[in-house]
Structure formats: C-alpha cells, structure tokens
Symmetry: C2
Subunit: 351 residues, 2 copies
Amino acid sequence: MKTYNIFTNEADSLPSGKADFLLAASVTLTCEIEGITQAGIPGMIPLTPTLDAEFIINERVYSLGELAETPTGVPTPAIITRAVHNLTPFSSIEILDLGLSKIPQNSTCQSFGILPSDSIASGANIDAKAVFEKGMKAGRTYELKGNYLILGESTPSGTTTATATALALGYECRDDFSSSFLHVPNNIKDETINKALSLINDEMSNFLKLSHVSDNMLIFCAGFLLEASRRFHVVLAGGTQMAACLLVADKLREDVLMRVKSENITLATTAWVANDEHSNIAHILSFLSYKPHAVYTTFSFANASIPVLKKYDEGEAKEGVGAGAALGYAYANGVENKKLLETIEFLLYSI
Amino acid sequence: MKTYNIFTNEADSLPSGKADFLLAASVTLTCEIEGITQAGIPGMIPLTPTLDAEFIINERVYSLGELAETPTGVPTPAIITRAVHNLTPFSSIEILDLGLSKIPQNSTCQSFGILPSDSIASGANIDAKAVFEKGMKAGRTYELKGNYLILGESTPSGTTTATATALALGYECRDDFSSSFLHVPNNIKDETINKALSLINDEMSNFLKLSHVSDNMLIFCAGFLLEASRRFHVVLAGGTQMAACLLVADKLREDVLMRVKSENITLATTAWVANDEHSNIAHILSFLSYKPHAVYTTFSFANASIPVLKKYDEGEAKEGVGAGAALGYAYANGVENKKLLETIEFLLYSI
C-alpha cells in the first residue's frame, strides 16, 4: 500500500520512440539448488533463459516442448514482452549469451565465450574482471537501431545471486530483494547467501568478491551500462536484480575510474515488484551515489479470462525478461490494457 | 496502464496525525431510475447512505437486515473505511444528513433540514443557494478534534448527477466520470444527463443551474470546503464526484467572492478510480483554476480469500464512503496491507 499523485508526470515515463530490446540471458548453477527458484520447470531450470530467448524472438520455443512456467503453471513474463512486441514492435530483439546451457535456436544471439557460472554456495567461479570488460566493450560497440535501448534479463535464481552480490559489496539490503515466489523460501535463499558470503573477506577486491558470489548477468550488464549510457539512453529492464546491477556499476566505476552518466539511465519494472510488500526496490536504489530515474508501469491481470494469469496479481513471477520495461514501452506508445491482455491471452492459447 | 516513479514522494501522502471523518450522506431520487446505479440493493437504493452511515459508526446496520452491496454481491466500500477505523481510529466519525430517506440509527448525525432531491431527469428541485450557504456555515463552525478532516460521501447515482453538474457549469468532461459498474450503462446515464441539461439555459445563474441538475452533497460540500479549508486541512474523500465538488466550489467562489485556499485541500481516492480506463479524474481536475493536490492509495484484493472482494480489482464499486482517503490514512499511519485485508474479511464474515 502506497500513496501516489494522481497526475502522471511525463518525466516518469520511458523515453519516446522506438527501442531496441536486448536480453541478457544467463545461467548460474545456483538455480539447481532445490527449491531456490520457481522460474522454470523443475529439473530444467537452466533451460529457462534459452526458452525465454527463443520465445521473444520467434513467438515459439524449440529447445523444449513448452514455454517456461512456474510449478504452479504461471507462464514466464516473456509472454508480456512478446505481446508488447506484437502490438508496438521493438526496433530489434537480440540475445546476449552470458553463459547459457543451450544456445537459443533461430535467434540472433551474440556470444562472448562466457560459460554458465557455478553455484554461489561453493563459489561462482567467474572471472569477474574479464566479464565486466566484455560488457564494457559490448556497450561501447553496440549499434543502436531505434531511439534507445531496453536491456532485460533472464537469470533463474538471480535474486539470490543479486542479494549475495549487494551484500558482498557492502550494501545492507538483505531483506529488500524480490522473488518469483508468492511464499518465499527464505531459509534456502538465506543459507545459500550465507555460504556464498563465507567465501569472501574484506581484503578481497570488488572483482574478486564478485567472482565468488555474483552472476555473469549482473557483472556484464554493469559494464555494458557504464559504456552504452555514454552514447544513448539505456533502460535497465527489471526489478531488484537490475537494481543490484546499478549497485555493481556504481561500485565498479571506482575501479575503472568512470562516471555513471545517470541522466541516460532508467530502471523500469512492474507494479508487482514496485508494490511488493516482501521486497523494497526503493531501498536498494537508495544506496546509489546518485538519485536514479526509476519507474514502474501499472498493469494487472484482474480482468484476465485465463485464471492462472491472475497469480501475477497475487505476487507470483512478478518480473523478468524485461516485462516491466516492455509495459512502459507499450504505455509510451499508446497500447491499451485491454488490447495487451487480449494479445497475451492469444499467445498463451496458441502455444 | 500508467507509468509512475518508484520513489514515493512524501508530499503525495495525506497529512500526518489523526483525522476526523465526516460522511456527507445524501439521496438524489435520480438513483431510482432503473439500471442507473448499482450502489445498493435494487428497490432499496435510497437506503444505501443510511446503511453506510450506520455501518461506519456502529460496525453493524439497523435500517435493513444487511449491508449495502451491488446486485453482484460486492459489498459497499464502507467496509474498507470501517476496517481502517478499527486499525487506526479516526478522532471522530459523524454523519451529515444532506437529504436522507431514513435517519441512521445509533449514529451521531447532524441535520440541516435538507430533503432528498428529486431526479435530475425532471429537475432536482434543490434550493442550491440555501444548501450552499448551509454548507458554508457548517464549514465555518465545525469543531476539529484531530489534526485534519476527511470528508467522504455516500450518494447513489452521484456520478450521474456529478456529470450533469460539471457539464451545466461549462466544464467539458462528459466522458471523464467513473461509475460503480464494471460495464457502465452509458445510455441510461447519458439519457438522464441530457434530460437534466435540457432543463437549463445559459441565462440562468450558476445556483439556478445547480438547483435543476445537481445533488445536495456536491453543493453542500462545496460550501463546506471553502469555509473549512480556511481554518484547517480538508481531505475530500472520493473519486470523480469529489473532483466535481471541487469544480462546483471553484465556480461558486466567484458568486460569493471567496478564494479557494487550495494549499489546505487534498483530494484522495482509490487506485481503482485513479487507474480506471473508463474515466479520467485527472482530466476533470485539470479544469480547476489551480493545480490541486490529488492522490490515490494502492490497495488490492488480489490476495483476498473472499472471492467477491476481487471484483473491486476488476472494476466494480471502486470508491465511496471515503474508502480511498481511509486507505491513505491507513498508509500514513503505518497500517499494513495484510492486516487491513484480514480486518475487512473479518468484518464481512461477522455481519
């Protein structure tokens, strides 16, 4: 429950015009810890980013017979992102392979020689500096097609690695992170985070800490963001994970002596995250050295005719695959709720 | 669908501290036009304000065996207001009888010798100037108990009379008004409004126009607001009806040569109104001679265990009996969603 001004502020919207959509798709084997995430089909969680990638590009999946969904049947937020694309197309959709278990088929996918990272419970085993530099290079060289860029992510168990990452860098926000669960299994997440944090110490550099407790998505996107935002507007599309990505960028800029061009950065998420009572994205963002531009877009499944979609309103799934930014993009381009809901339901029926 | 800033602005909240709660309870016989409202039990709509009044004061009703609800079983928003009172009490709750069909029992109720107004389809037959002056006097003499005042309303078919009122005063906002319906019977409402407007002409004074097409709640509250806000902060608790009340006050101040002390006025409503795609409260408010302070508070029944409550999220009922401001009051006083939901459901089970 929060109180807001009735008058929508133009400055709170996404930039106008067309956007490129980039999906940072990544696997951390943290996701294989039983019960830690419900972002996908049990036993096949590492396939989720691959399926999300295939779906937003092709409107169908190839690497498995079905779309990623939670064990309770809630479909991946990729359906929202793709429905938006069908109504008001992105200038492009491309995939960044930041350590996938399986290459997405029939998909424009950039490879960076990054492997899935290990479980943070025993050390992620990432070369953080190398991954960050790959992100910086990609951000420096990315050729923008539309007016700005939306950078989304698909990283199962990514809120667990994001929490460990933020804590490792000294930000006290353990209880602020969101989850794809309605009822969060805090003990499993906490245990995993504690094991990860036991692997690091104060003498370690930021990069070394991240090598143990983070994920490739966070590190790569932080580097990408610092460079790309020097040239054009970047919308970080996600909830508390992308908030953690901003923390990583803000911390590592000291190591690479860069400035965050914050006027070129927006974080965009869903109302399910922004209004979530079990997490606090505003508190995570409050640790930044600048006041970030951060927005969410209201959209609800209250009028859905497919009942399982209403679980989003109850707090399942919440965000991912850039769904929140896609909603903001849809709003900025005049798409109506009703039309969007119809399109999402059509997609669900047809797959 | 709208995009908002993630950071809650303190200035967008209700004032801090305790509030008096006043309910402007009024009957316009416009409500007896078949199918024009669903704010109450068919055939007994004029009882709704009486029942709402009894319920928020006593937590039970006397004048009928049951609480007001829509034909589809959606309970009156009075349950929200009363639940808030149980969790963080108002300094007082009193009723203003602005033309009730039946006096609320066991309720602190001020009388002003105002009778229910007639249907605007054939002329409301209100002495608008007298009612406005009664409102001014009440606003001048009201003794505040807490830190500020919340002024709510219960007026079935009030969005129809509010639309006619705004149009009669020259504000072009016919399609901006909300409704307690999910599927609005626009033809019945439109027909009624057109009949009302056919009774007035440009030569008439503002007061005479209102005498034909308005309701006692709007006129009285406009007068009350102008005077009371000179002495303390007044929160107008409602959606598009209360927005129309601000238009009435803004227009009539010219007739009584008063200034609107807008820094002492807040309009507070629900997210169901603020995010409603079938109405546009921000557009109504844009006609004011000043930029008003207007807020809404998010609260949803997505996690309700009583299914009929979820119809609020689908767009039924939406607002009334000060529910939106009560939510804002609850938020400002630290009440949690979960506790509030439990209390509302307990009230529903126990009546």
